[in-house]
Symmetry: C2
């Protein structure tokens, strides 16, 4: 129906989160009808994204320059607590509450209870190494790990899996209180709900 | 809050239709977390879009190769009616009804009743030229122009403006019947609603 380059663009946008066929088509035509400079800007930003965005060597948060640690991990005055989140956007949501003064670890996703391959999708080994060998990362000893995954089926499965990965160590493992609306996603929680979930963790 | 390249990407996605800040952020992180090959694919498709997509010299529909006319405009057996639509996706929606056997003209947008600059955003002059001088485009004489803009404030303002642009000629001007849900958009109409709107035009 549409020329091949437009169809290909639609297929790429279909893989974006929350995007269906109608929206993907609108996005493709939005670009087709926009100034060539807008397309160039997008191309340039994509190149920059590929080449200049690095991740924090401790928590995997994205960093612009070739710095080693992010501003949170650099801050030695924080409490020896580690909040394990699925994505960087969750970290930002928790920082915004100003309720939490510990460190973070970004898993990079979650695991589905049904898909074995998903186990490789999250940074479970990397988390275990950071909790067991904080000195290797010039980090203080972690006393508590908060499994702050989303209160969804996948998030709960991820937390359960991580509990098993971390068990046997001396670290205390907690989860966010179920003040969060079940079935929702952490990224969309308002700051009050997220604050009380932090306070009521068990 | 986020590194500069991610913030820039978010600003670009914010200009996509229907996209707010949360969604734009998710899109940026989707790309950040996807395979480098996926980003390369997107970059390649954007280059292809810029270089290889042309538009039909009569109706402005997108064409892959350097063909002059699209399959509809090439078809000399169609009726001498011209449906004026805002976007290419509207053309596709009308074709799908199989109710309409005329030609099309894509305006490339609509005009807001309040923004004078918008007048340059649509192809009003180009439309007038095609209706008044069909021979110049090797097209048969158009007997009727259907102003098939969206039944929104902007779409109605656009139709009103085009009526004035085309007035004085011998061509009959019609509009789609208001069987369309008012306030909605043509692209999302189901085929039956669109069919009856075509039949009941006045």
């Amino acid at each position: 129906m549409y020329p091949k380059p437009i169809q290909n663009l639609i297929s790429i946008f279909l893989r974006f989160p929350t995007v269906g066929r109608k929206t993907a088509t609108r996005f493709a035509f939005h670009l087709l009808n926009s100034d060539p400079e807008e397309i160039d800007r997008l191309i340039n930003e994509l190149h920059t994204l590929k080449s200049s965005v690095h991740t924090c060597s401790f928590c995997y948060r994205s960093l612009e320059k070739e710095k080693d640690l992010c501003s949170v991990c650099e801050d030695k005055s924080r409490e020896p607590i580690l909040a394990v989140v699925e994505r960087e956007t969750d970290l930002i949501s928790i920082e915004k509450t100003k309720e939490y003064k510990g460190y973070y670890f970004i898993l990079g996703g979650n695991i589905s209870p049904l898909k074995k391959d998903d186990l490789k999708k999250i940074r479970a080994k990397e988390l275990k190494s950071r909790v067991e060998n904080p000195k290797k990362y010039e980090m203080k000893k972690i006393k508590e790990v908060i499994l702050a995954t989303n209160p969804t089926t996948e998030g709960e499965a991820t937390a359960l899996f991580l509990e098993r990965v971390l068990e046997g160590g001396s670290v205390k493992i907690t989860k966010l209180a179920k003040g969060l609306p079940v079935g929702g996603e952490l990224e969309y929680a308002d700051e009050d709900t997220l604050s009380s979930a932090l306070r009521g963790r068990k």
